[in-house]
Symmetry: C2
Subunit: 327 residues, 2 copies
């Protein structure tokens, strides 16, 4: 049984039957549009990420269930960064004929599993044949009370800079794959199965603890630049405070040139946020509540040279600011 046998409408019908119509979904898969409820007084959050074969992933490296789950998580991460509650997903799939029905099922299994784990509903989309490469387009929708919205803009000089979780693990797994090595399971997991920091983002926003926030998809330095740019701010970062995993330490002890992935490795999908000094304690208490590292990694300052990385003695050190470059 191939995709050609069941056809586009067979695939959509299969999806329609296997997807539970979640809360707020008036019309889900199978009409011209989905029809959805947005709570009165709340804003709709919308974000879109493309995942294209041989650009964002290689089919020989990633399990299709992981790809499905990741395509959900990277979009939900953007909703986390605004402080929102994720609600609805739309999936556009360009399917090359080399993909078997079993592979498509695995993709959807990962996609729907990650959706269910985060209480979001697949409500519609588009499927079609693709020329040669698998392409995945996900649009995620969330909601948030207008007064709780957190933006990239809003940080102030003197605010503390925090990141959730650990940095560089996803980029390190990718470097190992590119070098022909098998990444350690914990690093591979960071790369292939990222999780959006939704509960933490929601708490930071709803409790009014942060002045600005962004999720880390392009690398700490690149995303910090986006966070500061709107307000023409600068920052210092503390080299010796960067949170990394034990596996990251172990692998980069042998390959010190990969240490910089803390700053310019992509796809961490952690949150980077600015905190007024008087909120420090309340923010750090969230670490226990949500079982996640929360680390003060720097401080916002007035403009000038955008970012200084300081060593333990307070002296500036040089770090290449590559970030993920799409073109």
């Amino acid at each position: 049984m191939s995709l050609h046998d069941i056809g586009e409408f067979g695939l959509i019908e299969q999806l329609r039957r296997s997807v539970r119509q979640g809360p707020g979904v008036k019309i889900g898969i199978g009409d011209d549009c989905a029809a959805l409820e947005v709570p009165a007084g709340e804003l709709l959050l919308v974000t879109n990420d493309l995942l294209l074969e041989n650009v964002h992933f290689r089919r020989d490296w990633i399990d299709l269930a992981d790809l499905g789950a990741k395509s959900v998580a990277v979009n939900l991460s953007d909703i986390a960064a605004m402080g929102g509650v994720p609600r609805y997903l739309v999936l556009g799939l360009g399917l090359p004929s080399s993909l078997t029905l079993g592979e498509i099922d695995r993709f959807l299994e990962g996609f729907l599993g990650e959706a269910t784990a985060n209480e979001v509903s697949l409500v519609g989309g588009d499927t079609c044949r693709a020329e040669q490469f698998l392409s995945v387009s996900v649009t995620a929708h969330g909601t948030i009370p207008a007064s709780e919205l957190v933006r990239r803009k809003g940080g102030r000089p003197g605010d503390l800079l925090y990141v959730s979780g650990e940095l560089g693990g996803s980029g390190l797994a990718l470097c190992q794959l590119e070098a022909g090595q098998k990444p350690e399971p914990s690093l591979a997991c960071r790369h292939f199965r990222p999780r959006a920091r939704l509960s933490l983002g929601r708490a930071l926003a709803s409790r009014g603890l942060v002045t600005s926030m962004i999720d880390l998809s392009d690398g700490l330095l690149a995303d910090l630049h986006h966070l500061l740019a709107g307000d023409s701010l600068g920052a210092v970062l503390y080299l010796d405070k960067m949170p990394v995993s034990e596996a990251f330490d172990r692998v980069t002890a042998r390959r010190p040139e990969w240490r910089n992935l803390v700053f310019n490795g992509g796809e961490d999908y952690e949150l980077l946020f600015t905190v007024p000094e008087q909120q420090r304690l309340e923010v750090e208490k969230l670490s226990e509540e949500f079982d996640v590292r929360i680390t003060e990694v720097g401080k916002v300052k007035k403009g000038g040279k955008p970012v200084d990385v300081l060593d333990a003695a307070g002296n500036p050190v040089s770090v290449a600011a590559a970030g993920f470059r799409h073109f």
Copy 2:
């Protein structure tokens, strides 16, 4: 100046500056998510269409400004079919390096022109490098008072079947291109620059004139099947009533085998809807109000053989029910 020179963020920054932030847009391009207003008491409509190179279009046949406009129109057509008001667009673009900045500008010119003409705002998206083929993913958002929503389900035996505009022109232009012929301008226009029937769809829904509706993207027979399937209904169609253009008549007089495109040519983006007999006059009056042909092409009947096409004498004739097949 190439895409590589300005980079993803350069392109996004250029878009951010050139896009006017429309009504209801609290946050547009340039943050982790767009933040949008949905009127209280209204439902959010969401639809997504992928347009992939060499599947949905050929770059040597379509002008990129037309492709940009068409990628908007085909999505808005789905909102028209629910009776909604279009509001917000999200654009995912996978850009092969063979595309010049000038070509990207032309695409965006067509995209934003069509958006502006329909009073919808581009609010966000994703751009990235693509391996070889241009891929376009558009997610369109509309709103509608919950009580006015029109679905594919809802038609009843005895309802009249209507279509807007003229059929088969887009499919005919494609056949001519595939046969190495230059399509007549009016047919080419139907294929490359379709327009969504938004005002008509809105009027039909808000005035309560229709029991079900769908837009014609896969061909009359295939989409009629979708319209009837949910209610297990059948239909008759009147062969001699099919609305076609003068150019369609002229070209198919020479190539009678293309005449069937009225039934199975794709991408007409007209509306197909069911009307209770007592609303007949009010529906037909809309033709003048919106300056569009509105033609009674058949009638809904109880289930059984799904669709009979009848000739002028009322005898069934056989029509191949191909429709556009994606896989």
